[in-house]
């Protein structure tokens, strides 16, 4: 899209706000078009964005600092709250980091249950995202459908873990319970319905002329931007980069599952939608695989030394996992005491929602800013841990 107004050089527009030609427009922090609590300070000319500054700080709950004053077991119910739509990655990584520092190996059954949990939450997270992406381009119907189906997935979580959103299920040492009787049958019903929904989304949204017109060519991420902007996950895969931690550095039991890395080459918002839409199908396939291949019975939890006064040996570790937004990482430092000395959370949205968005927003029509932002799949709580 070529601007009629002063050209943008190196991502910075050369213009004079006093000239009355330009307008400063805030999108957020209360705005249906931003994903969560952050805001975009847009400089616009006509209906085109010529500069974008992102602002965060509306959702700071200080998780990392809170953890420094809490016993390890007390940090466990805390971490899931870092990401609302997909809390389980946090739970898994916190537990995995702690288990690595403690030098323990969890039971096989726990690994399968954790993987199942992660894929189910991937399904829930993608359903919510697809609804959001469709809504950002004005098609609220899809949002209604997707959220309804996400709720059915949450029903499964509720029955399995005892909670809908924050499951607090992957406790350090394993998991907190078995699958309830008859759960797999009900899970199959829910994922079949979600599968049917994916077909409908293809028909009414992927093939939608308006969506195509607006999303194709929007927010192009060139492959050479991938590393400088730390682009990971579906955003990278939408630009044809084969990068998926489940394949690159397999964790839990991902090396025993058969799946391929999904990529698209169009580099734009439309391509990213296709990647995520296909990965939703992939998550459904993986859930079916896990339920089929999972060994039955056996221990699912290893009792750690008394968690009330557990001291973790001195050391540090970085563990990572593929979330729906890409590489999610936990860097944990222990000084040998009962409290973590430092836990740093690497949320993928940190790079996507700030540097990358500021770059991509320039030159975009203001009506498409919301769609662009959602297409990067950003969750502000990950930025402000």
């Amino acid at each position: 899209m070529q601007s009629l107004y002063p050209p943008v050089k190196n991502g910075k527009a050369t213009y004079d706000l006093e000239s009355q030609k330009y307008l400063k427009l805030w999108q957020g922090p209360q705005h249906p078009g931003v994903t969560g609590n952050m805001s975009l300070e847009l400089d616009i000319c006509g209906d085109q964005v010529i500069n974008c500054n992102t602002h965060v700080g509306y959702l700071h709950r200080g998780f990392e600092k809170l953890m420094e004053r809490r016993r390890y077991i007390n940090s466990f119910p805390l971490v899931c709250r870092i990401c609302v739509p997909e809390p389980d990655t946090n739970e898994y990584l916190f537990a995995a980091a702690m288990e690595e520092l403690l030098g323990i190996d969890i039971p096989e059954r726990a690994k399968w249950l954790r993987t199942l949990n992660l894929e189910l939450s991937r399904l829930a997270s993608y359903l919510m995202w697809m609804g959001g992406q469709a809504g950002a381009f004005g098609m609220g119907t899809i949002a209604q459908w997707c959220l309804a189906h996400r709720d059915f997935v949450l029903d499964l979580f509720e029955e399995w873990t005892g909670a809908r959103i924050y499951h607090m299920y992957m406790i350090p040492g394993g998991v907190r319970g078995e699958l309830p009787e008859g759960w797999t049958g009900r899970a199959e019903k829910v994922i079949s319905a979600a599968e049917k929904l994916l077909g409908e989304i293809e028909q009414v949204f992927i093939n939608n002329a308006i969506f195509k017109l607006r999303a194709q060519g929007l927010g192009i991420i060139e492959p050479e931007m991938i590393d400088p902007y730390a682009v990971v996950g579906p955003n990278a895969r939408g630009s044809g980069i084969k990068r998926d931690l489940r394949k690159d550095t397999p964790y839990l039991i991902y090396d025993q599952l058969s799946f391929d890395i999904i990529t698209e080459n169009s580099k734009d918002a439309y391509g990213r939608f296709l990647v995520r839409w296909r990965e939703t199908q992939q998550a459904i396939d993986l859930i079916r695989q896990i339920i089929k291949d999972m060994p039955t019975g056996g221990a699912f939890h290893l009792t750690l030394p008394n968690v009330l006064h557990l001291k973790v040996p001195k050391g540090q570790t970085y563990v990572k996992a593929e979330s729906t937004r890409g590489e999610y990482g936990y860097f944990m430092v222990s000084d040998g005491s009962a409290f973590p000395r430092k836990v740093t959370v690497r949320g993928p949205s940190f790079s996507h929602a700030m540097a990358l968005l500021e770059y991509l927003a320039v030159g975009v029509n203001i009506a498409d800013v919301a769609g662009l932002m959602v297409s990067l799949h950003t969750y502000p709580p990950e930025i402000e841990r």
């Binding site: 607090m168 028909q203 699912f300 968690v307």
Partner: protein, 593 residues
């Protein structure tokens, strides 16, 4: 752009003819899943108020509030939950040692009271404040095969039974460092034990010191309330373990063995350096009559308070029942000496072979001291009260035990019958086993009624002691061959009106015979205070079986205190130690005024 792309969005209309997904929750509330984590429920009878739920809660959601009087093994506190803080992680449910705390699957709570304080409308005490979900069965419970606590104790290495019978060597080997740390790690530090311990030892604190490998700190904590930890670490009746929070769903912490571990780790030469008891002389003199655990405990605390302490003991060595009543395989003499030596090293003056009333008059003692603490214990064995009890060969359990301690030549013969079911009976039976005899224990009631420690009964069984229960001794006859014939009759347990437990009643006509070389009667001991005579005892009020005293052990004469078995009903070492400490404080107050 294809025509299909323009037409396909209209496919959404198809859904207009389908049943909607949404449900009208306002008309009818949607029920939570069977294991949903909703509002808390608490089985108030099962709950012991240990506060572990409050301890693990990261949001400070749970307060422990008093709802009833504290009882044995129950703090009387119950958790109150603040739903303005709860995050429904249910770690409180997972860790609950008694298993009383659960959650219902109810998640709707309607309460009027906008005018009330939120601390009332947001908080309630589950199980105490009635709520609609109290009756709901469904809801989160700790799943099976999932534990945050280690419920099984670390096994104490023992000598095998066959090896034990060969000598009087101590049969318990003691914990290694790894074992002790692992056992100490199990503790949840609720402190229910402290409340139950007669001496109120700060058990959670010294277990924490063990966990942190701080043996000197641990030893200091022990001496705060108990100057004989080496003894109690071996033979304590450990009332603390009976009420341990972990004992409700698993095995209690081995508190006794952990205490022993501390004394095993600390070198006796280092005690003075670690405890650094500084003594400022007060110029007052206290006499202590009897050097059992009560007397020694009083001596230690009175001495550390600066008083001049004289301990009078009629035997040739200090220790009382610890030395003369407990066999060396349970409490080796050198371990007892280690504790006594430290107390004496503070400057306590010990007068051995001094029997008050015989070698020294009570009047004299009364005159020469500012206060007197008496803990002479129960040393008069009860008689069975049957014919033939005076035959040679019929001895008391205490006599056998003290003769062994005194290294006197004793022969018990090939078969020994022990009458009684208390700890003295067990000790006598097991001592006789070690002397090579076959041993049969006769007890009036059932095995489960025995007052002896379960552990002692089990160990006696392991060592091949034969138990005959519901057996009432009838008569002892010396046979022509010189052996003893013990006649006994079978009893049946009858629940009589007014009695709490069933009474053994002799079955009419039942008469059985046992041939024995020695018969040991160990059915209990009584007090003897006839030696307290003269003018000095004028103020003291004697009962038929006891001496009147207030809760500090103070008799009706304000400078005479009693303690130990002659004062408390539990008649064990730790209660005597507690008495000594408590009376020492009372005596100190008396002497300062």
């Amino acid at each position: 752009m294809k025509l299909k792309d323009i037409l396909s969005p209209f496919y959404v209309w198809k859904r207009a003819f389908e049943k909607p997904f949404s449900v009208a929750t306002l008309k009818e509330a949607r029920e939570g899943a069977p294991s949903y984590r909703g509002f808390h429920k608490n089985d108030i009878e099962k709950c012991i108020g240990c506060g572990t739920c409050a301890e693990i809660c990261q949001n400070a959601t749970i307060d422990m509030v008093p709802v009833k009087d504290a009882q044995h093994g129950d703090s009387g506190l119950r958790p109150r939950i603040d739903y303005g803080r709860c995050c429904w992680c249910a770690l409180c449910v997972d860790i609950c040692p008694s298993g009383s705390l659960t959650m219902s699957n109810s998640y709707i709570w309607v309460e009027d009271g906008l005018d009330r304080d939120v601390r009332e409308t947001y908080c309630y005490i589950p199980g105490v404040d009635q709520k609609p979900w109290d009756e709901i069965e469904a809801g989160y419970k700790k799943p099976d095969n999932y534990e945050l606590l280690h419920l099984n104790r670390i096994k104490m290495p023992h000598m095998p039974a066959e090896e034990r019978l060969l000598s009087f060597t101590e049969m318990v080997h003691g914990y290694s460092r790894e074992m002790a740390l692992a056992e100490a790690d199990r503790c949840i530090q609720c402190g229910i034990c402290t409340a139950t311990c007669p001496a109120h030892m700060d058990i959670p604190k010294y277990i924490k010191a063990i966990r942190e490998d701080e043996i000197p700190t641990a030893l200091k904590i022990l001496y705060d309330t108990n100057p004989m930890p080496g003894v109690c670490g071996r033979v304590c009746t450990r009332k603390c373990e009976d009420v341990c929070a972990l004992s409700h769903r698993g095995e209690a912490i081995s508190i006794r063995w952990l205490k022993r571990y501390i004394t095993d780790c600390a070198e006796s030469g280092d005690y003075a350096k670690i405890l650094c008891d500084e003594i400022e002389p007060s110029g007052k003199k206290v006499a202590i009559i009897g050097s059992g655990p009560g007397g020694l405990s009083a001596a230690y605390y009175l001495r550390s308070m600066g008083h001049e302490v004289h301990v009078f003991e009629k035997q040739a060595a200090a220790g009382g029942m610890l030395r003369y009543g407990i066999p060396a395989y349970r409490l080796p003499y050198e371990k007892l000496d280690q504790d006594i030596d430290y107390i004496l090293s503070l400057g306590v003056k010990l007068h051995l072979n001094t029997c008050i009333g015989k070698d020294l008059s009570f009047d004299k003692v009364y005159e020469n001291h500012d206060a007197i603490f008496i803990s002479t214990g129960l040393f008069e064995p009860y008689r069975i009260g049957i014919n033939g009890e005076d035959n040679p060969g019929v001895i008391s359990g205490l006599k056998l035990l003290s003769d062994v301690t005194n290294d006197l030549p004793i022969a018990v013969g090939a078969h020994v019958v022990v009458v009684g079911g208390g700890n003295v009976a067990m000790d006598a039976a097991r001592t006789a086993r070690r002397m090579g005899a076959e041993v049969t224990v006769l007890y009036r009631r059932r095995l489960e009624d025995m007052p002896a420690d379960r552990e002692e009964i089990d160990e006696a069984l392991e060592e091949g002691v034969l138990f005959v229960c519901q057996a009432i001794p009838l008569e002892i006859v010396k046979s022509a061959s010189g052996r003893l014939e013990m006649y006994w009759g079978k009893a049946e347990m009858v629940i009589q009106e007014g009695s709490k437990r069933p009474q053994p009643i002799l079955i009419e006509g039942s008469r059985e015979e046992l041939i024995a070389d020695t018969i040991i009667s160990a059915i209990g001991q009584g007090m003897n205070f006839t030696w307290m005579d003269g003018e000095a005892s004028a103020q003291i009020k004697f009962g038929k079986w006891n001496i009147e005293a207030d809760r500090y052990g103070r008799t009706t004469d304000e400078k005479v205190f009693i303690g130990g078995d002659m004062f408390n009903k539990t008649a064990d070492a730790i209660s005597a130690i507690a008495d000594g400490h408590r009376s020492a404080k009372a005596i100190d107050t008396l002497l300062q005024n």
